[in-house]
């Protein structure tokens, strides 16, 4: 099978439409910030309060200094590039795997 380039159009259209994902401002169920627990329970569970997450580079799919839409677009592009990059690397590493 030849790689069907049209599948790329689907991906590109999805990336173009990605700011639609910003419409829902509410967080996903179970992914609240700590203020939510303070409000609902009156306390923040210790483990959640003391959680040491990593300082992520583009936390919440946003970028300092960029508007939310621009940050979201940039996140979509960076994410896509990283996925492609990883698969490219895996392919390179496993070059000895059967290639016809």
């Amino acid at each position: 099978m030849k790689f069907n380039k049209k599948v790329l159009y689907i991906l590109f259209s999805m990336i173009l439409l990605v700011p639609l994902g910003l419409i829902g401002e509410s967080p996903a169920w179970g992914e609240w910030d700590n203020a939510y627990y303070e409000k609902v329970l009156g306390f923040i569970p210790k483990g959640i309060e003391n959680a040491e997450g990593v300082q992520s580079f583009m936390s919440d799919y946003s970028m300092k200094g960029l508007g939310s839409v621009a940050g979201y677009y940039l996140s979509a592009i960076v994410g896509t590039a990283l996925v492609f990059g990883i698969f490219y690397l895996i392919a390179k590493v496993s070059k000895n795997a059967k290639y016809h």
């Binding site: 439409l17 179970g30 483990g47 997450g53 896509t80 990883i86």
Partner: protein, 217 residues
């Protein structure tokens, strides 16, 4: 369904990593075997789609939101191991670069969204293969199963880990969590996953006559 850091007890974290590790290793081997000049671009694009489709947060009643995952699509085209590893890689990028889902909870998130989703969707698809609606039901089923496992991980926390009457980690009980998470995935996000899976699947199927799985095996 991306469980953040601090939501699961260290014991849960250890167990989920212990279970996920051998699965990742085996799945990764399968993925490496499947990658060739023809499959690599397609698996890459489908994985990128999984990343993007998870950015489409859909608001639902109850001041909450959710999204499709895209694991089932890869699983029914290339097999469940490929779906599992590909979506695990997507989840890793989300956790490390975008702070979506924790690091300590990465194994749990991979088991629910990537593993159970891929395998559940794959077997459901094979069961219904004859029917046109198979990809839709497979997509729905896969993500609903994912939400069941996520609910289990979260819901058992207050059952076992408390101090002074206060839950230490995720605070809501199993029933509340199940109703909220599984319910919303059955009614909303499962349908979205089903539509996404069947749209892209039918698009890809039309254009070719050999099985992608054969190609990948």
């Amino acid at each position: 369904m991306h469980i953040p850091d601090g939501y699961l007890s260290p014991e849960t974290v250890v167990v989920t990593y212990a279970v996920a590790l051998p699965l990742w290793i085996y799945g990764f081997k399968r993925l490496k075997k499947s990658l060739n000049e023809e499959t690599l671009p397609l698996i890459g694009v489908l994985s990128a789609m999984s990343f993007i489709v998870m950015m489409f947060n859909i608001p639902i009643p109850g001041a909450t939101s959710g999204h499709a995952v895209g694991a089932v699509l890869i699983a029914i085209l290339f097999g469940p191991w490929i779906g599992f590893v590909s979506v695990s890689l997507v989840l890793l990028i989300q956790a490390l670069v975008f702070g979506d889902g924790g690091i300590s909870t990465y194994a749990a998130n991979s088991l629910s969204m990537a593993f159970i989703g891929s395998f559940g969707g794959y077997y459901m698809f094979n069961l219904l293969k004859k029917y046109k609606f198979a990809p839709f039901v497979a997509g729905w089923c896969g993500i609903v199963l994912s939400s069941v496992l996520t609910s289990l991980f979260l819901g058992i926390q207050p059952l076992f880990w408390n101090a002074n009457g206060h839950p230490l980690y995720f605070p809501f009980d199993l029933k509340t969590t199940m109703v909220a998470l599984v319910g919303s995935h059955m009614i909303f996000f499962g349908v979205v996953e089903g539509i996404f899976t069947s749209l892209v699947y039918s698009f890809l199927k039309e254009k070719k006559n050999i099985s992608l799985k054969e190609l990948a095996s």
